[in-house]
């Protein structure tokens, strides 16, 4: 495991843009190497989604300190679309609906954006590929003509995120609570799909954000981190998740990582 990390987060702090206070990430350190699966667990409001959105470049959050390097590049300098093309994919906790835009049309544009300059996407190849991916995720082909997330059930939205992931083949997939809103059958289908993708591309890395151990039974993490109050409070192997399942987050309550920088922890 001497490969260079695909993602290196060091001392990352972030706040809500346009707000003076509201620091949410208070010094996050995390390294992910190609092919590794990491899980971040943590109580509601601990900053997991904020971390995911900062990685994807959401304009609503502003990094205030620290650095993020992705495949050797300064990620924080990049626009959201550049990050996507560089290989970051965020499966949203709350996918956004885009009325009037079909999944097929949207994905065609996204896949086209990955073509080399001046090369047009082969439409037939694209459709075949889309159909194949939908079959993999046990989705009806008619799904492709539905408008992105518009009127979707919670489960359909999550499955649609994984479909996009399967079509865009990221180097690092950040999956934010993909398991919530999925029943056990759907969860297994999604997990199978994700595992298929990691088989296809053993170099693909995954950062799973979840509340529950449940998903980790199907997608096995190499590392588990516990996020509390904007920091990684504990890191370890899969046993960390099992311990959490038994003990809950109580042990972490009131716990603050040593305050090595100026940001005062909330009381």
């Amino acid at each position: 495991m001497s490969a260079a990390p695909i993602l290196k987060i060091a001392g990352l702090q972030a706040k809500v843009a346009d707000e003076v206070e509201l620091g949410i990430l208070k010094g996050v350190d995390l390294e992910i190497k190609p092919g590794e699966i990491h899980a971040i667990m943590g109580p509601n409001g601990s900053g997991k989604s904020t971390l995911a959105k900062v990685l994807a470049g959401h304009p609503g959050y502003e990094p205030t300190d620290g650095s993020v390097t992705f495949a050797g590049e300064d990620l924080l300098e990049m626009e959201p679309d550049e990050r996507s093309l560089a290989g970051i994919f965020l499966a949203f906790q709350y996918p956004v609906d885009i009325p009037g835009v079909s999944i097929a049309n949207f994905l065609r544009t996204a896949v086209q954006a990955r073509q080399p300059e001046g090369e047009d996407l082969d439409i037939f190849e694209f459709s075949d590929h889309l159909t194949e991916r939908m079959e993999m995720l046990e989705m009806d082909v008619s799904f492709a003509e539905r408008h992105v997330n518009d009127g979707f059930s919670g489960g359909e939205k999550k499955r649609n995120e994984i479909l996009q992931m399967a079509m865009l083949k990221p180097r690092l997939a950040v999956m934010d609570e993909t398991d919530s809103g999925l029943d056990i059958d759907a969860l297994q289908i999604v997990a199978k799909g994700v595992n298929k993708l990691t088989e296809e591309d053993p170099e693909m890395s995954i950062l799973l954000i979840t509340h529950y151990q449940r998903l980790l039974n199907f997608i096995k993490p190499d590392f588990v981190h516990v996020m509390v109050n904007g920091r990684i409070a504990r890191s370890g192997g899969p046993e960390v998740a099992i311990a959490l399942e038994e003990e809950g987050y109580k042990t972490y309550e009131g716990q603050e990582a040593p305050s090595t920088n100026g940001s005062a922890p909330a009381a």
């Binding site: 470049g57 304009p59 996507s84 835009v101 949207f106």
Partner: protein, 449 residues
């Protein structure tokens, strides 16, 4: 009342009683009289001002100067398509299968065709002037009588008095046209006033789609186009009327439209407004027979300092009638849109279903939209609703798309097209959807600058 010594409002060098006489010199008496009557209505009708609720947001004093206009006297244009302007030919190329075409250049019908089979069944598609001779009884019965008579207002009167070009579409009982008929108009005379009419009569249980596209380059001086549209769908007929306006800058586009739907008739309209400096559409849908139904669709995209004013009314006169209006627009630059719509349910028009929705998307902080929905209900067993929204581009949607690799422009384009696409999806006529999408994309491409 007005002093006899003062020139009545809107009477100019070109727009005059003499012009009425000149234009109608060779016309049958009934038409001459109809024009003279319309002219007298025009003279005695004051020019609408912003004091009138219906004109509150469109100040004609500032936006329209009739004085310098000439009447379009366009010399006959070539009827050889090879000599037609590039953009006109392009517009026609995009029109797929059609049951018939009319090409109008500067008010002259330079081409008209209708499939031989349909002609044999009695379908008429041609210039209104010709029809005055060839289908006199039909035209005399319907032209500027029940649908858009001179009494409708200042512009309707002007149009009825001075119209010089027009289209007649007549579909006999039970005849169904699979493909739309397509009218393409090209205007070139800067500083001219074009007054044209459309008369569509669809007999019982007939079916037809009519698509009318008007386009031009930019004009150096203000150019006025006035259209009076009369659509009559008899019992059980199904009619779609589509107007696509792609005029250049400097154009003042004014259109008065009235649709009359008989028993169990379906009469749908789509107004697409993309060009012109000023667009004013007055649309009145009248549901005259039980079971009549009208979908009323509108789509606009403004940029620069374009101004749009849509004034619609849905008149439910008989019971069991339905209307569903959806007008959607995107506004960039410092463009502005006004939508004013009223649903009127007449006494006794029970079981009316009437809906009205206007949605606006502002793409620039300087753009503006005003939406004024209204209801006037005089029956108690009805379902009516109206809604209006003015919003900005959803930044979460934009981020979502960008997080999949679409650049800012592509993301905005997709969101806007999705927003407007809802309207086109409801009346998916071949050719129209592609054409309109392409023009909007061109406009969006300029948005980035």
């Amino acid at each position: 009342m007005a002093q006899a010594t003062l020139a009545p409002e809107g009477v100019t060098q070109a727009l005059s009683a003499e012009a009425v006489e000149r234009i109608s010199a060779d016309e049958p008496t009934w038409l001459q009289e109809r024009r003279r009557h319309a002219w007298s209505v025009y003279e005695t009708t004051p020019m609408p001002t912003t004091k009138l609720e219906e004109w509150r947001y469109t100040d004609l004093k500032k936006k329209l100067d009739l004085a310098p206009l000439r009447l379009s006297e366009g010399t006959a244009a070539p009827d050889d398509p090879a000599q037609w302007p590039e953009r006109l030919r392009e517009a026609m190329d995009e029109d797929r299968e059609a049951s018939g075409h009319i090409v109008v250049i500067d008010g002259h019908v330079v081409h008209a065709d209708i499939s031989a089979d349909l002609a044999k069944q009695g379908v008429v598609l041609g210039s209104l002037q010709d029809a005055v001779e060839q289908h006199a009884a039909l035209v005399e019965e319907h032209l500027a009588t029940e649908a858009v008579p001179a009494e409708e207002g200042k512009f309707a009167a002007l149009n009825a008095a001075l119209w010089t070009d027009g289209v007649l579409l007549y579909v006999p009982k039970g005849v169904q046209l699979e493909a739309p008929v397509r009218i393409t108009r090209w205007l070139t005379e800067s500083g001219a006033a074009y007054l044209s009419r459309v008369l569509i009569v669809a007999e019982q249980h007939s079916q037809v789609s009519y698509v009318d596209e008007v386009l031009s380059d930019d004009f150096e001086s203000q150019t006025f186009t006035s259209t009076a549209v009369e659509v009559i769908a008899k019992d059980g007929a199904q009619v779609q009327y589509v107007a696509v306006q792609r005029l250049g800058k400097g154009a003042f586009y004014q259109s008065v439209q009235r649709t009359l739907a008989g028993r169990d008739a379906t009469l749908d309209t789509l107004n697409v407004a993309l060009g012109a400096s000023v667009t004013r559409v007055d649309l009145n849908a009248r549901l005259l027979g039980p079971g009549a139904n009208s979908d009323m669709l509108g789509l606009y995209f403004g940029d620069g300092s374009q101004h749009f004013d849509f004034n619609t009314s849905q008149d439910h006169i008989k019971p069991n009638t339905a209307s569903d209006l959806l007008y959607k627009g995107a506004l960039d630059g410092s463009s502005r849109a006004v939508f004013r719509g009223i649903i009127r349910v007449y006494p006794g028009a029970q079981k009316t279903d009437a809906y009205q929705t206007n949605r606006n998307l502002l793409l620039s902080p300087h753009a503006r939209a005003d939406s004024l929905p209204n209801l006037e209900i005089e029956a108690d067993d009805v379902k009516c609703s109206h809604g209006a929204t003015v919003g900005e581009l959803d930044s979460e949607a934009k981020f979502y798309l960008m997080s999949r690799g679409l650049n800012r422009t592509q993301a905005e384009r997709l969101v806007v097209m999705g927003f407007l696409g809802e309207v086109l999806a409801k009346l998916p006529l071949g050719g129209v959807v592609e054409k309109v999408s392409r023009v909007i994309e061109q406009k969006l491409a300029q948005h980035e600058g």
